[in-house]
Amino acid sequence: MDKKDSQVVDVSVQAMNLGTGVTGMAAGFAVTLKNMVRSVPGRNTVTIQYPEQRKPYSRRFRGVHALTVRPNGQLKCTACFLCATACPAECITIEASAVTDDAIEKVASRYEIDLSRCIFCGFCVDACPEEAIVMTREYDLATHDRMDELQYGISDLTDREEIQAYGAGYRPHMQYPLVESYLPTELPAKPQDDID
């Protein structure tokens, strides 16, 4: 629109219109007041005391990965590299090695996920033909160090206590009960670091 044609509004006239001002303000404060009453402790509180208190997460939550193992304790992963191929962030590093076991032939001797690069898209889990990699519901990954502590190796992805504590998350071949997945569950608090 041309500048000449634009409508000129005198703001001072509007400011004089006290009626509009008062109703508008009242409407705004009504929302505030309503939510204040709602969030009286004991009623529908949104805020929680994190990290002592935790919120429940979906059963399909895509948190930190876990590597699954066979009944004999051996990694299920045969280093087919489909996860590394699917990974858009290129954060999976695998080294394969041969085993003499007749049935398996090939295992991952090194499996590293750089969680500082991971975008938690779950493509690796989708790509895996054998559910050798799944996701857990673990989500709190804050560390004091950006580089080393977020490089998760085989032992981090199989043996850590948190994997059991948070439980399995996204698994593409699993049928999830949709309602149950949103019910709150008891989650043990993460062991706290000593903060100096």
Partner: protein, 548 residues
């Protein structure tokens, strides 16, 4: 010339051409397992069945020669052929273990490719995995792993060991569902060409021990190169990732190496990886050789080489270097202010570049570019020994040594000893090499240079065929291609116009020399990657490939 019509495309071919060859030439895909362009056709896999107008039954395209006015239809056009091909593939997959996740062939496997093609595959499998016939897996046959379950019985490997390498170590045993490839008593293969078995195998039955589980093939990048293991100059493809070579495989070139290469050459990249590489220029100080920047090293080198010592100069070339590097080295020799001798030979005897090591490909001369060095006049002196003799007598001023250790075999100690004598006797010495070693102690400037696979350039093989080798890797540390280092050592203005690429050196320098006349870098770099001596040009050896 007969004209054959395949899928409606008229193709004119020489008499006795097979249908599959005519289709390949026209770019029409016919699936195959047992046909290989450099092995005798056997027609046993039945994957290449085609319909020929007027024939009652389908015929295998790999054993049927074309005749004039033949009308052929493939699975792309003909329902009966499509049905037959699908049936053949379904039969081949009945006992296939489907272990693609642990199979090294996955990604370059004919079975995978054909199964996923709508004209040949995508059938549902009616066999439960427990019902499949089990065979032996991961059997170590020396350089090769045998996995019988994956085999499609195409017999390419049997024919290779009978017809090409001549060792005849593989054969079919048992019958029907239980037929298997076997080496006698499972002994390790002693064929120096066994690595080719993994290449000819269209599936994952024979895989390379060297490449086993190293990397999935779809992560590999490729560079077309020439093997630097001997003077044959086999065409190879370097497969690499993350700036490291993972394997070297042959490229087909009917005039040089057909589809084959020897295991020595195939594994020669390990020798390169094992070398302690020189990564920074060095300068002689009170406290021995110390690292300096390229700029300082260049200034030092230029100043030293200008020095009027009133003595002769000696330039040592290397047959491991590319034609472009050798040409620049010669310009370097010409630009020295004193009379200069240049040679790459130890004595003034020409090396026997043609001498064979076996009936197939290997040659005794373990340098890739001896012919090129001779043609470029880098072997015009009295030999390195004689130069070292002069140096010891105090007659030599400036010494420039270019040296790469061979990729097959060990460094020649006599050669290194002569280098040491040269350096000791010279007033000023520049060494260009890719390896940390002891012989260059006492040199004034040592420059790190790129190795084979790290620089592009051309090699001229024993027969005078000039072939292009592409760069795959980045040189380690501050190493540069030798031609760049030598070009910058030349006095400013001695090369005009400034030569910035290998292509310019080849076209404006090397191709001016009569032996290389008519060659262009762009043609060498084209898809064919090989240019032979044009008609009438002198050829230096017998035909490239003898075979059996």
């Amino acid at each position: 010339m007969p004209i054959v019509t395949i899928d409606g495309h008229p193709i004119s071919v020489e008499p006795d051409t097979l249908i599959i060859q005519a289709a390949d030439r026209a770019g029409i895909e016919i699936p195959r397992f047992c046909y290989h362009p450099d092995l005798r056709p056997e027609g046993n896999c039945r994957m290449c069945l085609v319909h020929i107008k007027g024939f009652a039954n389908l015929s295998p395209a790999c054993t049927t020669p074309v005749t004039d006015d033949m009308v052929v239809n493939t699975a792309h056009q003909h329902d009966q052929v499509r049905q037959a091909t699908k049936g053949v593939l379904e039969f081949l997959l009945i006992n296939h273990p489907l272990d693609c996740p642990v199979c090294d062939q996955a990604g370059e496997c004919s079975l995978q490719d054909f199964y996923l093609h709508p004209d040949y595959g995508l059938h549902p499998s009616d066999v439960d995995p427990p019902e499949k016939v089990r065979k032996r897996k991961a059997l170590n046959l020396g350089p090769i792993y045998l996995d019988s379950e994956r085999c499609v019985m195409c017999s390419r490997c049997v024919r290779f060991s009978n017809e090409v390498s001549g060792t005849g170590e593989l054969q079919f045993v048992h019958r029907g569902n239980h037929v298997e490839i076997e080496a006698f008593e499972d002994r390790a293969l002693r064929d120096p060409y066994a690595g080719n078995l993994a290449d000819v195998c269209p599936v994952g039955a024979l895989t390379s021990r060297d490449f086993r589980f190293k990397r999935r093939v779809w992560f590999l990048r490729h560079a077309n190169s020439i093997c630097a293991g001997c003077s044959t100059g086999c065409n190879v493809r370097i497969d690499y990732a993350e700036n490291a070579i993972d394997r070297v495989v042959p490229r087909r070139n009917p005039a040089v190496n057909k589809s084959w290469m020897c295991d020595e050459g195939r594994l020669s990249y390990h020798n390169l990886q094992d070398l302690p590489r020189l990564e920074s220029p060095l300068q002689r100080t009170e406290a021995g050789l110390q690292p300096v920047s390229w700029e300082e090293a260049m200034l030092l080198g230029q100043e030293g080489m200008r020095g009027p010592y009133g003595r002769v100069s000696a330039v040592v070339a290397s047959a491991m270097a590319t034609n472009e590097t050798l040409w620049i080295l010669r310009q370097c020799a010409n630009s020295l202010p004193t009379p200069t001798e240049i040679d790459f030979r130890l004595q003034s005897i020409n090396p026997d570049i043609n001498a064979r090591e076996d009936h197939l490909l290997r040659r005794l001369d373990k340098a890739p570019n001896s012919r090129g060095a001779m043609l470029l006049g880098a072997g015009a002196g009295r030999g390195i020994e004689a130069m070292a003799q002069s140096a010891e007598e105090g007659k030599v001023g400036v010494v420039v040594i270019l040296h790469y250790p061979p990729l097959v075999g060990q460094d020649d100690n006599a050669r290194l000893a002569a280098f040491q004598r040269l350096i000791r006797g010279a007033a000023f010495s520049v060494v260009l090499t890719n390896t940390v070693s002891g012989w260059w102690n006492g040199a004034d400037v040592v420059l790190p240079v790129a190795s084979w696979s790290e620089e592009e350039g051309t090699f001229t093989n024993f027969a005078g065929i000039t072939q292009l080798t592409e760069a795959a890797l980045t040189p380690p540390g501050e190493a540069r291609p030798a031609w760049k280092a030598l070009r910058d050592l030349l006095p400013v203005g001695s090369l005009s116009p400034r030569l910035a690429t290998v292509e310019q050196i080849f076209d404006r320098g090397v191709a001016v020399i009569s032996a290389f006349e008519g060659l262009h870098y762009a043609t060498l770099a084209s898809r064919e990657a090989t240019v032979y001596p044009p008609e009438g040009r002198k050829s230096y050896g017998q035909e490239g490939f003898a075979g059996r």
